[in-house]
């Protein structure tokens, strides 16, 4: 129960942060949140539109990092409650892992923003 509430707050904060940081982001690029809990990225694979910002929040008692396998992005070590955001502008699949606990892996799938609009 507490965790769900916590997640909702995190989501709200992330949306607020990215909305102010990225005024030029297209409206359809909904921003997304990945939680780090129990040494797992949740969701492990997330699909977003180009231009969207993904925010990771560490809910574990130990630090983790978000490190792109292609070295496109890398966070500092996130202590409990710390966040890291990255904006994905180009469609593609972006694999990442925790450089401290490399068995923890995840992926961000970025779809073209215009293509999805047409589909609607």
């Amino acid at each position: 129960m507490a965790r769900k509430l916590c997640g909702a707050i995190v989501l709200a904060v992330a949306v607020f942060t990215t909305a102010t940081a990225l005024p030029a982001a297209p409206a359809q690029a909904a921003d997304s949140v990945v939680l780090i809990d129990q040494f797992t990225f949740t969701p492990q694979r997330i699909t977003v539109k180009a231009g969207a910002t993904v925010t990771w929040t560490n809910e574990d008692d130990v630090p983790h990092t978000i490190a792109s396998s292609s070295k496109l992005f890398k966070s500092k070590a996130l202590d409990t409650g710390d966040k890291f955001s990255f904006t994905f502008t180009t469609p593609g699949t972006y694999e990442y892992f925790c450089s401290l606990h490399p068995h923890m892996t995840g992926a961000v799938v970025v779809e073209a923003a215009t293509g999805s609009n047409a589909a609607r």
């Binding site: 040494f39 797992t40 008692d61 130990v62 490190a67 409990t80 450089s99 401290l100 606990h101 068995h103």
Partner: protein, 312 residues
């Protein structure tokens, strides 16, 4: 999970599993005839009259950790150091198998130094992944890296025993485990070249050099190559930390041992959804403080383990 030997002394698999508990102390090692023998957890006044070289292993002090599993990791480190100071036989030196700090903060390194230096013993460190959170590993290397290679590996000799400190916590690969890397492995091969096979070897590194539980990352990707260089030696002891519990395994002439943390316990492999810090009741924690005697028998290379709680 463990593949320890059952032997005639009743050291059963069950007993060993029972011993995967936490104690906020260190392990005292002694070299008798070139073969390491654990003297039990420090604080137990059993370290009387060891012959030859005696040294001590502490691990995973996580200075800066303040979560429910142990809100005062610095305090339990100090307890461990006080026990070292109270030993009837002074060890020759200490080995710290990494995760000195929780977040690689200068203040955490300062606090750790302030407490550990009270033991008034030489300390030989290797880093854990928590000690190298800065990209270029400067914080660790500036303090502990003198005379070391790469990210901090080195070797030294004491009383005819060759000690090798390895670093397996940098440049980790996605989906992988601990990593030694080619440069370090080449150095290791050269370091061992020409040494008589009778030289007792002690290797220490943070992450276990054997596959304890790969699903939790408890192993080292390229350890097999290191062990290949070591296999001609008659007595090899591998001391690791990282998993915050005692585990042992014997494979040929190689004895593997992981130490307890001085900060917080972690669950047995697969016993929890993740390897995160394990909260136990305060009174239970004290009853889980244990002593571990490990005896390495020359020739047979089987190890006998006797663990007892400090209380109760």
């Amino acid at each position: 999970m463990t593949s320890d030997h059952d032997d005639g002394h009743g050291v059963s698999r069950r007993k060993i599993l029972e011993c995967m508990t936490w104690a906020g102390t260190g392990v005292l090692w002694t070299m008798a005839g070139g073969v390491p023998r654990s003297m039990g957890i420090i604080g137990e006044a059993r370290a009387a009259e060891p012959s030859g070289l005696t040294f001590l292993q502490i691990s995973d002090s996580h200075v800066g950790f303040d979560k429910p599993a142990n809100p005062n990791a610095l305090g339990t480190l100090e307890e461990a150091v006080n026990k070292i100071k109270a030993l009837p036989v002074k060890p020759s030196f200490v080995i710290h198998t990494g995760d000195i700090t929780h977040l690689s903060k200068p203040s955490e390194f300062d606090d750790a130094d302030r407490i550990i230096s009270q033991a008034r013993l030489d300390v030989h460190y290797v880093p854990g992944e928590h000690d190298v959170l800065d990209e270029d590993v400067k914080l660790y290397r500036n303090r502990y890296g003198r005379g070391t290679k790469g990210a901090g590996w080195y070797s030294f000799d004491a009383n005819g025993v060759h000690f090798i400190g390895l670093v397996n916590v940098v440049d980790l690969k996605a989906g992988g485990l601990g990593n030694l890397g080619n440069e370090q492995l080449e150095w290791l091969e050269g370091d061992l070249k020409g040494r008589p096979a009778s030289t007792p070897i002690v290797v220490f590194a943070h992450i276990p050099l054997w596959s304890v539980y790969p699903a939790w990352g408890w192993g080292t990707e390229d350890a097999a190559r290191a062990l290949d260089y070591l296999k001609r030696f008659g007595s090899v002891t591998v001391l690791n930390g990282h998993i915050h519990q005692i585990m042992q395994k014997v494979e040929g002439n190689v004895t593997f041992h992981t130490a307890m943390s001085t900060a917080f316990p972690q669950p047995a492999p697969g016993a929890a959804p993740s390897p995160g810090p394990m909260k136990v009741a305060d009174d239970k924690l004290r009853s889980l403080l244990g002593v571990t005697d490990v005896t390495f028998k020359r020739g047979q290379q089987r190890l006998a383990i006797v663990d007892q709680p400090l209380q109760g």
